[in-house]
C-alpha cells in the first residue's frame, strides 16, 4: 500500500492504530491488512463496526473539484489518541483502527476510516459511532473546498445524529 505514514500509534492494551496519511488509501485493504496482522483477535471478535467517510463531488449546491485538509501536527494526533482512549474506557473492544487523510483530496477519495473490533456488536457499533462523532467535533482538521468558481473553507460539521427521512 502506498501509504505515507505521518503518525502511527500502537497501544499496549487493545491494539490501537491511528494513521494520518497524505496519500490515497484503500479503507477495505487497510482493514484487511490490520486484521491479518492481529492474530490475537482470531476467533475472539464477533463484531466489526466500520465507518468510511468519502469525499463527495458536491456541497451546498456546488460542484466540488478538490479539497485541502489542513491539520495541527501534534494536536491532531494527541486528540485522536484521546478520543480512542475515551471510547476504550466506555466500551470493551479488542482493536481499533483509525485512518485520516490530510492534504489534497479528490472526489470519491476516502477521507476517514474508523473500524472497531469487539466481542459483541453493541460495543462495536457504539464505540465506532462515538469515535466518529468525537473526531468530527474535536479533532483539529479543517476542510477547504475548491469549487468551479471559488475556494472556500467549510464552516462547520453537521451532527451525525440526523438522517431519518
Amino acid at each position: 500500500m502506498a501509504t505515507k505514514l505521518l503518525f502511527f500509534h500502537g497501544s499496549p492494551g487493545a491494539s490501537v492504530k491511528i494513521i494520518l496519511t497524505k496519500t490515497e488509501f484503500d479503507p477495505w485493504a487497510e482493514i484487511k491488512t490490520f486484521q491479518t496482522n492481529s492474530p490475537h483477535i482470531r476467533g475472539k471478535h464477533g463484531a466489526t463496526a466500520t465507518f468510511v467517510g468519502t469525499m463527495r463531488d458536491f456541497n451546498e449546491g456546488d460542484t466540488v473539484t478538490m479539497m485541502t485538509l489542513e491539520y495541527y501536527p501534534g494536536m491532531t494526533e494527541k486528540h485522536l489518541e484521546k478520543i480512542v482512549a475515551e471510547a476504550e474506557k466506555q466500551w470493551n473492544f479488542l482493536d481499533c483502527l483509525v485512518v485520516h487523510r490530510v492534504g489534497d483530496i479528490l472526489p470519491n477519495d476516502p477521507i476517514v476510516l474508523v473500524s472497531v473490533w469487539s466481542s459483541h456488536r453493541g460495543a462495536a457499533f457504539d464505540a465506532c459511532r462515538f469515535i466518529m462523532e468525537q473526531l468530527k467535533s474535536k479533532a483539529p482538521f479543517w476542510k477547504k473546498e475548491h469549487t468551479e468558481n471559488s475556494v472556500r473553507w467549510v464552516a462547520k460539521n453537521s451532527s451525525g445524529y440526523e438522517g431519518a427521512k
Binding site: 467517510g53 485538509l69 489542513e70 491539520y71 495541527y72 501534534g74 494536536m75 494527541k78 486528540h79 485520516h100 477521507i111 476517514v112 466518529m132 473526531l135 468530527k136 467535533s137 474535536k138 479533532a139 483539529p140 482538521f141 479543517w142 476542510k143 477547504k144 473553507w153 467549510v154 464552516a155 462547520k156 460539521n157
Partner: protein
C-alpha cells in the same frame, strides 16, 4: 523563553499570520495573547483556542514556554 502562537485554516488566512513568537512578559491568559497579536480585533465568535495542544478558553492561564493556538471550528472526518 517565549510564547509560541499559531493560527490555522481560515483564521490563518484572514490574519495573514501562521506563527508568531511573543515575549511572555505581561501575558497571563489566552485573551492576553490574542490582544498582543491583534490589538485592534476582538476574538471572533466560534474561534477555538488551545494551550499546549489541549483545548482551552480565553481565561486559561498561559506561561512562558507555552504554545497557544487559535483556529476556527473543526471540519474533519
Amino acid at each position: 523563553m517565549s510564547i509560541h502562537v499559531r493560527f490555522f485554516a481560515s483564521l490563518r488566512e484572514q490574519l495573514g499570520v501562521r506563527e508568531q513568537c511573543l515575549e511572555a512578559e505581561g501575558i497571563e491568559t489566552v485573551e492576553d495573547v490574542w490582544k498582543r497579536v491583534n490589538p485592534k480585533l476582538s476574538l471572533p465568535e466560534h474561534v477555538l483556542t488551545a494551550v499546549n495542544m489541549d483545548y482551552a478558553d480565553v481565561n486559561s492561564l498561559v506561561k512562558d514556554g507555552d504554545e497557544v493556538a487559535f483556529f476556527p471550528r473543526v471540519t474533519g472526518g
